[in-house]
């Protein structure tokens, strides 16, 4: 493995952490929006309580991925930024509104109806942002923006809009949202000691878990023709059959665990399922960062930059991981011993 490949792998690892952690925070917003039944308020309170201490730290994984991308693969980053200007700008607005609305609701100390309005804004932004981020990923995975040199000329719509508004990209956006909602529902079963509330999220977990499967199959079907390299990787590569096997097993396993109320097993299986999907995408488009124009080796920064970035990651990780462990130990250490 080359140094550039290692760093590209670390970018995927940060994205993986972002999806599993911040993704679930977005998913919490989905369940805030869809809160229903007699325990509607309790559901919302649980979401707020669960993400309050950790959402800002979870969000930093995205920053880390972006920073690594622009220091280690500057050409690819510049190209992505040009061609995905519109969906990324819209996603940024979503990120800003979600974070601010959450902070205003949590620390603003206002009357209930004002808080509810902030909650609504938080929930809507939590739904829209993952779809936009997923559409951007869909445009990359579909090879719709990877050709070199485009951007200076060419029609506006064809250059800046249609790549991320294709049926495939939209399907990936919806798929991302389904994954995030699924993760959140599964995690939330572990956040509460109240069996009724746990059951609320059990039902939501099963429903969204099925939605993940359906959306995944639709996206894969739509990739025919528009994302040939992706399909080739996902269907033809030697690692493909075991990957699909494990992903399918994790998907069914998470549903079974939810069904039998094995919350911890459900969490492990759900996180495994979503991680395998992400790595499937990453492996399928290897050795491309942005197919078909930008490979890992072709877009890589000079070796010295890569070495120093790796050094910074090792040093940073030595401080980061104990701190993250402490954060989750302090706030996520309860409610678990009673289940399993």
């Amino acid at each position: 493995m080359t140094l550039a490949e290692l760093l590209a792998g670390i970018v995927v690892i940060s994205l993986n952490a972002y999806v599993l952690l911040a993704g679930a925070d977005f998913g919490g917003g989905v369940w805030d929006l869809l809160a229903s039944g007699p325990r509607r308020k309790e559901q919302r309170d649980l979401v707020v309580e669960a993400i309050g201490p950790v959402w800002e730290a979870n969000h930093v994984w995205l920053i880390l991925a972006i920073v690594l991308l622009f220091s280690c693969f500057p050409a690819a980053f510049a190209h992505l930024s040009i061609r995905l200007h519109i969906p990324l700008s819209l996603a940024l607005i979503g990120i800003v509104l979600r974070g601010s609305a959450f902070a205003f609701r949590s620390y603003g100390g206002q009357r209930d109806e004002v808080q509810r309005n902030w909650g609504l804004l938080f929930a809507i932004a939590s739904v829209v942002t993952p779809v936009l981020l997923g559409m951007a990923v869909g445009a990359v995975a579909g090879g719709a923006i990877g050709e070199e040199g485009r951007g200076k000329s060419g029609a506006f719509l064809a250059t800046y809009v249609t790549p991320w508004l294709s049926p495939f990209a939209i399907a990936v956006g919806v798929f991302a949202l389904a994954c995030f909602a699924f993760l959140a529902a599964v995690y939330l079963t572990l956040e509460s000691d109240d069996p009724a509330l746990q059951d609320d999220f059990r039902r939501r977990g099963i429903a969204s878990g099925i939605a993940v499967m359906v959306a995944g199959i639709v996206a894969l079907a739509l990739s025919r023709g528009v994302a040939p390299s992706l399909q080739q990787g996902l269907l033809g590569a030697p690692w493909a059959p075991p990957l699909h096997l494990f992903t399918g097993a994790a998907a069914l396993g998470s549903l079974a665990a939810l069904w039998f109320r094995r919350w911890r097993w459900a969490r492990i299986a759900a996180a495994g399922e979503v991680s395998l999907i992400l790595w499937g995408w990453a492996l399928a488009q290897y050795p491309y960062l942005v197919p078909p124009g930008y490979t890992i080796a072709g877009a890589a920064a000079p070796a010295i930059t890569l070495k120093l970035a790796l050094g910074a990651l090792v040093l940073g990780g030595a401080v980061l991981f104990p701190s993250l462990y402490y954060l989750f130990h302090v706030f996520k250490g309860r409610g678990q011993s009673t289940t399993v």
């Binding site: 622009f70 980053f77 190209h79 100390g109 951007g151 940073g316």
Partner: protein
């Protein structure tokens, strides 16, 4: 609106917005940590209340700062892909370090805000210290990257190709030290004096209030020394600019002609046609003295710079004047406060501050000054570098994205920031007007039980 101007406006608006939250994000944790430390040392419940209230304000500001900072990290590419393609490998290093500093800040702010009842008091205080340290580290790394844009080092361009990249040399660029000191002090001075001003205002109405007395003393402890030191660090920064960025210095000082024994030009209206500055106050030899510590030193004027490479002289000159004037006022007020409290015990210090109504008024006037001065200072360094995005290496117009219609995102983000700004201001206002009301003379004689009841009522 041309795309380049729209892109610059969007970047400028985003930075101007984010900087306010960055300042507070660096300064406020220090205030809350000092308050908590005093609570642990004395058992005085007001300090506990103060730390919790400051933490609550910090939480809102940090959240908005974090998301607006995210916008900026993306905007580097969304607006300036040409810059990032060139600079990413050279100056990505401080951004990577910033990523980790930001991580630590977010993690331990979460621990601090939600951990009051979950972890031991010492661990809680330590979490606050880590927030303060990583907040400062985060700001420093970003300013290092900006300093590199002013004094780029750590690479060579041979036949249009970048070679010999040395990210460490890039981080140790000549402007890095003076700029990071200047900005970090700005954060403490601006935040400290702003908080001091707010509590000074409330003390004018209610001089006996024990809560505001303690708040004022801590805010001055953090903001005062920084405000006093800031002119010294400014001198360091200005001499550095004189050496490496003569065009910026000439614009700051509205110096059109290269001369020995150059005067210091205060105020005035620059006339670009006749290349003169009218109605200005001139201090003979002042500029040569300040820039090179030698009254007869030669200072390069704009006439030595090609006309196409001039920054906007009027804007840079006036931004500089505003920054220096406000910074000087803040330093003087801080010295005054230091003078009246020098050598006194803590209680005595609080009393003389609360009873010195002229000093309180002067502090109230200083409330917004640190923020305005910082914004003006950024105008100086950013507008003063134009038309370059990397001084002498890459022009801003060559860095901008080819994406057309940039006026649309500019308007969208501006509206977003206006909306957030109004909300944040309103929330902070609400929090401040709800400050607890307890008189110093009553508080001192409360039993622990009474003070506990007071604390419940204060919520």
């Amino acid at each position: 609106m041309p795309d380049l101007l729209a892109a610059r406006s969007q970047m400028g608006t985003s930075l101007a917005f984010h900087i306010l939250f960055a300042l507070v994000g660096i300064g406020m944790p220090v205030l809350m940590v000092v308050a908590e430390r005093r609570w642990l040392a004395t058992g005085d419940e007001i300090y506990h209340e103060l730390a919790q209230r400051w933490a609550k304000g910090t939480a809102i500001l940090f959240a908005v700062g974090a998301v607006s900072g995210t916008v900026l990290s993306f905007e580097l590419g969304l607006l300036w892909p040409g810059f990032m393609r060139f600079a990413g490998p050279i100056i990505g290093m401080p951004f990577s370090l910033e990523g980790f500093a930001f991580f630590m800040e977010a993690i331990f702010l979460g621990v601090y805000l939600y951990g009051w009842d979950r972890i031991p008091p010492r661990a809680h205080l330590f979490a606050g210290v880590l927030v303060a340290v990583s907040g400062a580290a985060s700001g420093i790394t970003v300013v290092v990257a900006n300093a590199w844009m002013n004094t780029p080092t750590g690479f060579q361009v041979v036949n249009g190709v970048v070679t010999n990249v040395d990210p460490i040399a890039a981080m140790l660029n000549p402007a890095a030290l003076s700029q990071t000191i200047h900005m970090t002090l700005a954060a403490y001075a601006a935040t400290g004096l702003a908080v001091a001003g707010i509590h000074a205002f409330l003390l004018l109405k209610n001089p006996a209030n024990a809560f505001h007395r303690r708040a004022l003393a801590i805010a001055l402890l953090v903001g005062g020394p920084a405000a006093v030191l800031q002119p010294i660090s400014g001198d360091l920064a200005a001499r550095q600019v004189a050496r490496y960025q003569p065009a910026k210095l000439a614009a700051m000082e509205a110096l059109f002609h290269t001369e020995r024994g150059a005067p210091l030009v205060l105020g005035g209206w620059t006339d670009m046609e006749s290349r003169t500055t009218r109605y200005a106050l001139r201090i003979p030899y002042g500029l040569s003295l300040l820039a090179f510590h030698d009254p007869n030193a030669e200072v390069i004027g704009l006439d030595a710079i090609p006309r196409a490479d001039w920054p906007n002289v009027q804007a840079v000159h006036w931004s500089f004047q505003i920054m220096v004037a406000l910074g000087s006022y803040m330093a003087l007020v801080a010295l005054w406060a230091g003078w009246v409290t020098w050598g006194r015990g803590k209680r005595e210090e609080r009393r003389v501050l609360a009873e010195n109504r002229w000093l309180l008024r002067a502090l109230v006037a200083a409330t917004p000054m640190g923020f305005i001065a910082t914004e003006a200072g950024w105008m100086v360094t950013e507008l003063g570098r134009q038309p370059w995005v990397i001084q002498g290496v890459m022009r801003t117009r060559d860095a901008v994205t080819p994406m057309p219609g940039l006026v649309v995102p500019f308007i969208m983000f501006t509206l977003l920031y206006c909306f957030l700004g109004v909300i944040v201001a309103w929330l902070l206002y609400r929090q401040i007007v709800r400050s607890p009301n307890v008189s110093e003379s009553v508080w001192r004689f409360m039993t622990p039980r009474e003070s506990g009841r007071w604390k419940r009522d204060a919520r």
